[in-house]
């Protein structure tokens, strides 16, 4: 292990030659991408990057020595950005002692909870995802309650929270339990009204001159909810049934908040409305049958129909331990007709944009040097990552799982 860490390449200069680069305009063959320090320094046709010279198996760019990687036409995408999971918060789902994501409190509102405070950059779950191209994740709080707290964006390489927690409060996570969705929506309206009234006259709250507030609302919660009720911070909610999606669109319009919806299994039925309201969704393309009473209308081409209507589509459903498989979910969306380029963007550019992560999720000069070199089509099950760079650093392609594998590699030969 010491050896591996010692060889972990420090950010310097990397030239990725002759790749099929997934650029914001779409995939382009014969590209060269140059990473200098933690940034993307150049992107261009392989024979037309100025300031770049090659000699033998090395290269020089802008006066410095670079590692040269022969892409040989392989796809290079931005690092994959996952959404809505508990990476770094949970090691083993069934073991409370290994979890740091469930507050076990009966507080209905925990808006001030910042999940970034619990992120453990040393979790063994991280390396498993990272070696397969996942570079960033929007992690979310779970547990019961109505307002579960604030999501944080993390990068999957680094030793401290300071290095790894990129942005806090990228979304407010709200749960709308089944039973009566109408009641959940009423509660959300009441909560928004309470926060607005607090924001108008904070002195009244301090002087205890207030009508009764929503249960469990503390001063910290009220303060934390202000950006969300002003529409400055997205509110992440789950819903699958078309009628629930419709009600959420109305709620957003009435309250001037900004929603992101997880699930949307019946989204295709209200795709135009979601597009009009500019509500992004995260869908699971493998939910394509009768998937519960809230998703009797689920179908395989949901992602395709949503994307075609102009809805921003991201992917979810791969849990926390197998975020590495999210790209196969996107592959299944393509299998059912979704545009390949949009599916790749749903794993990179779209989540970065939806959660406000600047310089992440695209291959552009000046952007963060997070890229993945794939052995083939990044959405195909036979494809694996041949190289992963986060902030310009080459990620070692090892994990606790590869260590276990190598320990027993020869057992069958005994």
């Amino acid at each position: 292990m010491m050896l591996l860490l010692a060889t972990l390449a420090h950010a310097g200069c990397v030239v990725l030659d002759d790749v099929q680069a997934s650029l914001p305009t779409g995939p382009v063959e014969g590209q060269t991408v140059v990473l200098v320090g933690s940034r993307i320094a150049a992107v261009g046709a392989t024979d037309a990057v100025s300031g770049l010279t090659r000699s033998g198996d090395g290269a020089r760019y802008d006066g410095q020595d670079c590692t040269l990687v022969e892409g040989k036409g392989r796809p290079l995408t931005p690092g994959l950005v996952m959404v809505d999971n508990q990476l770094g918060l949970v090691e083993i789902r069934a073991e409370d002692g290994s979890r740091n994501d469930d507050p076990h409190t009966r507080d209905a509102v925990r808006a001030a909870l910042d999940v970034g405070d619990a992120y453990d950059p040393h979790s063994s779950v991280i390396g498993v995802q990272r070696m397969e191209g996942v570079t960033h994740s929007v992690i979310t709080p779970v547990g019961g309650g109505f307002v579960r707290g604030q999501a944080a964006a993390v990068r999957l390489l680094g030793h401290t929270q300071e290095e790894t927690v990129l942005e806090r409060g990228v979304a407010m996570v709200v749960d709308l339990p089944s039973g009566s969705r109408a009641e959940s929506l009423r509660q959300l309206r009441e909560l928004v009204a309470d926060v607005r009234s607090y924001a108008r006259d904070k002195g009244a709250f301090d002087a205890n001159r207030r009508r009764d507030l929503f249960p469990d609302l503390s001063a910290l919660d009220l303060e934390a909810l202000i950006p969300a009720v002003r529409g400055e911070q997205p509110i992440l909610v789950g819903a699958n049934r078309a009628s629930d999606l419709e009600a959420l669109v109305r709620l957003q319009e009435d309250l001037g908040i900004r929603l992101v919806i997880r699930g949307a299994a019946e989204g295709w039925r209200v795709a135009e409305r979601l597009a009009q309201a500019e509500i992004p969704v995260m869908v699971d393309p493998m939910m394509d049958g009768v998937e519960g009473f809230d998703a009797l209308g689920a179908r395989a081409d949901n992602a395709k129909l949503l994307a075609e209507a102009g809805v921003k589509v991201m992917f979810h459903g791969a849990g926390t331990h197998n975020l590495r498989l999210q790209r196969h979910k996107a592959g299944n969306a393509v299998r059912a007709g979704m545009d390949h380029e949009l599916a790749v963007k749903g794993l990179t550019e779209v989540p970065a944009e939806v959660f406000g992560l600047e310089g992440i999720g695209t291959i552009e000069v000046g952007g963060s040097a997070d890229v993945v070199l794939w052995s083939g089509d990044p959405l195909e099950v036979s494809t694996l990552a041949d190289g992963v760079w986060i902030g310009g650093e080459a990620v070692p392609l090892v994990s606790r799982q590869t260590v276990l594998r190598d320990r027993y590699r020869d057992v069958g030969k005994r």
């Binding site: 493998m286 049958g289 926390t320 331990h321 592959g331 099950v381």
Partner: protein
Amino acid sequence: MVGASRSQGRALLAGSVGGLLLGSAGLATPSFGAESDVLGPQEEAGHRIVERVSHPDATPRVFSGGVVLTAVGDRFDPGYVVVDSAGRIAAVGEGPAPSIDGAEVVDAKGRFVTPGLIDTHSHMGVYPTPGAKAHADGNEMTGPTTAGVWAEHSVWPQDPHFEKAVEGGITSLQILPGSGNLIGGRGVVMRPVPTRGSRGMRFPGAPETVKMACGENPKRVYGERRQAPMTRMGNLRAQREAFLAAQDWLETWQKYEENQASYEEWLALPEKKRKKDKKKKPDMPKRDLDKETLALVLTGQVLPQIHCYRADDMLSMLQLAEEFGFRVRSFHHALEAYKIADILAEKEVAVSTWPDWWGFKLEAYDGIQENLAMVHVAGGRAVVHSDSATTIRRLNQEAGKALATGRRAGFDVDENDALSWITLQPAWALGIHEETGSLEAGKRADLVVWDAEPLSVYAKPVEVVIDGRTVWTPDGPLWSDFSAGQRLNDDAPAVEVPR
């Protein structure tokens, strides 16, 4: 049989599979590889099908012009498969298809033909969709050993997930009770076909199976109730006690069957002889459904399918099997099989597992993606299972992933091996490998026609065939009564119920 020349194709009979089973599919009474055949009439009575399940003749067909992947090592490009009117494979081979009188020719150019996919681990029907309290019929958690319950008595044949599984190329599957119990009851090998009662879905002649579980689940379920078992040692005590009791019961029953047989011989004697040496009809021992299932495990008539994650837990189960003289047919989940791949290969225990699930509980912490490949290269029987109504629709992708990660790590596995993990190897784990699981002359014509390389994420079945009859094409039919009429508001195709 249509008159295709077998020598043109691969006429390997299933003996090449190398299993220990003698094979006798088609018998009403399961007796696969049994050392003895006990409880024959009793078992038969318990499985009788009330509804009449019709099996119309198949149309003799020749699938021609496509790539044929047999799952026994061949890739015929182009190849052909000949299906006869009995719904069996008459010939498989490379090159142009033979011309067969009266046979319909299916142009498979640009398509790929594989055996039908087989899943050894499903809870469809016993935990159907939509998830509902009223349909939670998979775990009889009223006591830790319930060997006498049968999954087929819980299966809801209208579970809409059955037809979705066919859409993914599934032609046979094992429905199991859950893993809440140490001995959860009998599993059942089924065909995902429309019937009114679950028993009509039984794979004809398939052996009986029993679900067992080790490790965390049973001890958690009962331990939380302050009830045995609460520990792994409690798990083993309860399993050993159950088998001890079954051993006793089996001896009593076998003695009875012997006495009954000699009584019947005596009855057949001439009266004179009978008068000389009188015999009394032996008393039938009290029947006991729990003990009967385990007694049939001891005689080899019921194949144990054991939910077990950790390597050391699997070794405990192998010890249990040796102590009582039975063979474990397949471990399920088996995330640490790679740690004991040599032993599992030597004892010929199949490993039914996922390519990449891990981390949901402590006994699933050491899962690795190369598990299947490592079991395979050790000479063992690797099986991709789903344990999920959604991944069962994509078993081909699951195999594709396991192939990719295995290869990446330097293990010598190829497409044909990976295809066998979802066809022939699961067939063996269920004891139906002489009847299905590969494209070989003589076997049932269970096959899938794909629109792309079958292990690709983009591959979709365009036709699914069971016993020579098309059971699914992209236009349907759909048969679940639950799904019927649910989408009248949309422009969905009308639901056809072929019965």
